[in-house]
């Protein structure tokens, strides 16, 4: 019974990777962003960024559009509907994990014992 209460849905592993999370965080705060902004804001190298964008596009989380303006190729990236709901879900899951950790810590300190850092129990979710 107690174990069931402590179960928290695991975060999406595709999003949980730092580089991809940074990209999705930027995209969740705007309608769309170009490649240069993503490169500058996240600080990722161009190669890494392009690989991560391809992964996210293949997963259906972002939509990439390319257009030629002033004789230059411009890549614009935006979150797909699914991507937006996934990132919102991810932050909710992370908040739930944080809350659970804090409540465990409070419970331990209220019992007068030294708090032992333990990771939250995660259920196995399909990647």
């Amino acid at each position: 019974m107690n174990d069931d209460r402590n179960m928290v849905r695991s975060p999406n592993r595709l999003i949980h990777e730092p580089a991809r999370l940074a990209i999705l965080t930027v995209l969740s705060s705007c309608e769309s962003a170009d490649f240069v902004f993503l490169h500058t804001a996240t600080g990722l190298s161009k190669g890494n960024l392009s690989v991560q964008l391809t992964n996210l596009e293949q997963a259906g989380l972002v939509a990439i559009t390319k257009e030629i303006t002033d004789k230059k190729m411009r890549t614009t990236v935006s979150l797909s509907k699914r991507g937006r709901s996934e990132i919102d879900e991810y932050w909710k899951t992370m908040d739930a994990i944080r809350e659970q950790m804090q409540s465990q810590k409070r419970r331990r300190t209220s019992l007068g014992r030294r708090p032992i850092p333990q990771p939250a129990r995660l259920s196995v979710a399909p990647i």
Binding site: P18, C30, S32, A33, T40, K46, N48, M73
Partner: protein, 254 residues
């Protein structure tokens, strides 16, 4: 490659910073403010006294400089930001129920406030109509004291007031930890302009130099330049350091 990867991992994850930079990207494009401020500053006639040239020539020079600033504002600043920092389309969120309720409550509050002041005004008017003469007899001496406290020369408080309003707005919007220096910046600006405004009360001779006249007449331009420079530095500070790589993987995305 390993160094690049570790730098990537370190620079990528700071969700609050990323959100702040993305949401305030257009506001933090300070160089456009600097160009506008400089253009307004060059239109001040007081500036002509600073150069030892004939009046017509100085006017022509400052007009050319002002036009150059407007060109930078409308042509080069957007191009610079697009090339250096990229471009985003901001998110226009629909006002939710909580926001609408807050707006309605605020409107009701201001209506109540207006009604209160109107009532006070009408009451004072009525009292003065009935008891004007006896009150005026006693009030003359008090008003005389107040009148002696007003300085003989005009004091320009609008710059300090404007900066104070911005400071209050900054407090009201609950400053985020990513941009805590903004509060100190606005507070120091308000203090500096208050000092400029009040200085001639103790030193009346300070009103005559060109510098004091220039500070008073060009306060909008100077304030815009200061705000622009601060916003630009904030944007540069919040962006992670660029990692220069010579990989060809990202070339097709640029």
């Amino acid at each position: 490659m390993e160094a690049c990867a570790s730098a990537d991992a370190g620079s990528a994850l700071n969700a609050e910073r990323l959100k702040y930079v993305t949401e305030h990207f257009h506001q933090l494009q300070g160089l456009t403010w600097v160009a506008l401020g400089a253009a307004l500053l060059f239109q001040q006639s007081v500036l002509g006294d600073l150069l030892p040239f004939p009046r017509g020539l100085t006017d022509l020079i400052f007009l050319a400089l002002s036009l150059a600033c407007y060109t930078a504002l409308f042509r080069y600043a957007p191009r610079y930001y697009r090339g250096r920092f990229g471009w985003i389309e901001p998110r226009y969120g629909r006002p939710d129920y909580k926001r609408l309720r807050f707006l309605f409550k605020r409107r009701v509050f201001f209506l109540k406030l207006f009604a209160f002041f109107l009532l006070v005004f009408l009451s004072v008017l009525l009292v003065l109509r009935l008891l004007g003469r006896p009150v005026g007899h006693y009030a003359d001496s008090i008003i005389g004291d107040f009148h002696s406290m007003i300085p003989a020369h005009p004091v320009k408080f609008s710059p300090a007031l404007c900066w104070s309003v911005c400071l209050c707005a900054c407090f009201r919007t609950n400053p985020q930890k990513e941009d805590l220096y903004r509060t100190y910046f606005l507070a120091s600006g308000a203090l500096a302009w208050a000092f400029v405004a009040l200085y001639p009360i103790w030193h009346p001779e300070a009103m005559h130099p060109t510098l004091w006249k220039f500070l008073n007449s060009g306060w909008i331009g100077l304030s815009l330049i200061a705000w622009g420079l601060y916003n630009y530095m904030t944007l540069v500070r919040l962006m992670p350091k660029r990692i220069e790589t010579h990989d060809a993987e990202g070339a097709d995305y640029e």
